[in-house]
Amino acid sequence: MGALASDVVIEGLPLALPAWTAFAAVGVGAVGGAAYAARRGFDVVGVVLLAVAAGLGGLLLRDTLLQTGTSIVLLDPLFLIVALAAAVVGFFFAGLIDRLGGLLLVLDALALGFFGTVGAASALRIQLDPVPAVFVGTATAVGGLVLRDLLAGDGPRIMRPGAFIAAAAFIGVTTFVMLVEATDIASGQAQIIAILVVFAVRLASVRFAWRTRPAADLTDRVWALWSRPDRDDGSGTS
């Protein structure tokens, strides 16, 4: 039994996962970022930068939002070393990584839940309310992806219609915060449950081709209900 992930990414909060999971999650995100940069034809700087952004962006965003001091990813050299190693892998093996797209999707779905719960737990630990904690958790989960897309000059993928990513993180993080705040379940078990929720929603959305939809304008529909001549009460639901 070695150090716990909670010791590495947030001191003091009793999360159950071992320390290496934190580095594994960073590595998975960074490999994805590096392979993305390689595929887009960016140079070696781009591969390194997008690997660092995708792997560490979420935790950097969390630490900037929470202002709890210099980010852990700058203080523990292992985070940067993992991201750099991922950049090297992405630089030379982008083709192989693309072949293993399914494996990366599965690992990425696990990392999404991990970052989400870690972010929410850090927010709760400094006594933030549940609603902001859900926000910080979701931002931690998707921050790497957003930073990667911004640096690559794209609009963030998570905001465009497509398979559930941020939505999956949001559902899982909400589950985590509700379990921690409203039940007696230990935060470590709540984290495992939340990670499984994110994993299930993310993979189900890919498997069953669920897609987030563009915003729908309800004005006309509500107006039609409201101005219907035969309505007999003010509720508009007759």
Binding site: D43, L49, L50, V52, T70, S71, L74, P77, G95, G153
Partner: protein, 229 residues
């Protein structure tokens, strides 16, 4: 809080201000070339010049970013932006001089980033990253504000690549216990040397090499040729 941070460093403050003004001038030039209005020119000039430092200070946390605590940064940047707006043609004529100075400044930015990170008790790895981000951050923010793909991640001239290697040189020398002045000069020389060498030899920054795809192609080629025999 009120201690003037620059006095703790070996690099003279004048060099940092040169770096800021060259950054602001090149930012202003970039903005006028893009046809932005004066507000845009000022925004891009200031972002290009102090953007790297902002990223560094925000990531280090714990103190207000340096460019807000010492007014000289903004004054110099604004003055350079003003020159850039009012005398765009003159500045354009000075581009060759600016690129020479800029070549020397890559390493200066790296030192300004990495050294302040070390001063804030960051480990060498974090300092190396902040050195690179301080050198490249201004250009990245400039390109993002202009809605371009950042120039430094596209294949082309060595700039950030030189900064990455120079940053590694700096932290290695600091780790080896070399005197700070020596480490600083070596870093500046390494960055400038790499950039000059790459321009001279016409190197472009390398793009990813697909080992797997290459192996596969070779294997199918071998199989094909053996089948033909």
């Amino acid at each position: 809080m009120s201690t003037p941070v620059y006095s703790l460093f070996e690099l003279p403050f004048a060099i940092e201000m040169t770096a800021v003004s060259v950054g602001a001038l090149s930012g202003a030039l970039h903005a006028t070339r893009k046809g932005l209005d004066p507000v845009g020119v000022f925004t891009i000039a200031i972002t290009t010049s102090v953007g790297g430092g902002i990223i560094r200070d925000v990531l280090i946390q714990g103190r207000v970013p340096l460019f807000l605590t010492i007014p000289t940064y903004l004054l110099i940047a604004a003055f350079a932006a003003l020159v850039g707006v009012a005398f765009a043609r003159l500045v354009r004529a000075a581009v060759p001089v600016m690129s020479v100075v800029d070549t020397l400044l890559i390493g200066v930015w790296v030192v300004l980033g990495a050294e302040r990170a070390l001063y804030a008790d960051l480990p060498l790895a974090g300092a190396a990253l902040l050195g690179v981000l301080t050198a490249a951050g201004g250009g990245i923010l400039r390109d993002l504000l202009c809605k371009d793909v950042p120039a430094i991640i596209q294949p082309g001239e060595w700039y950030a690549a030189a900064a990455i290697i120079a940053s590694l040189v700096f932290v290695t020398l600091v780790y080896a216990g070399v005197a700070l002045e020596v480490a600083e000069l070596a870093t500046i020389a390494a960055a400038a040397g790499l950039r000059i060498l790459s321009l001279w030899r016409g190197w472009r920054t390398p793009t990813a090499y697909d080992v797997w795809g290459d192996l596969e192609a070779r294997m199918t080629a071998t199989l094909d040729s053996s089948r033909q025999r």
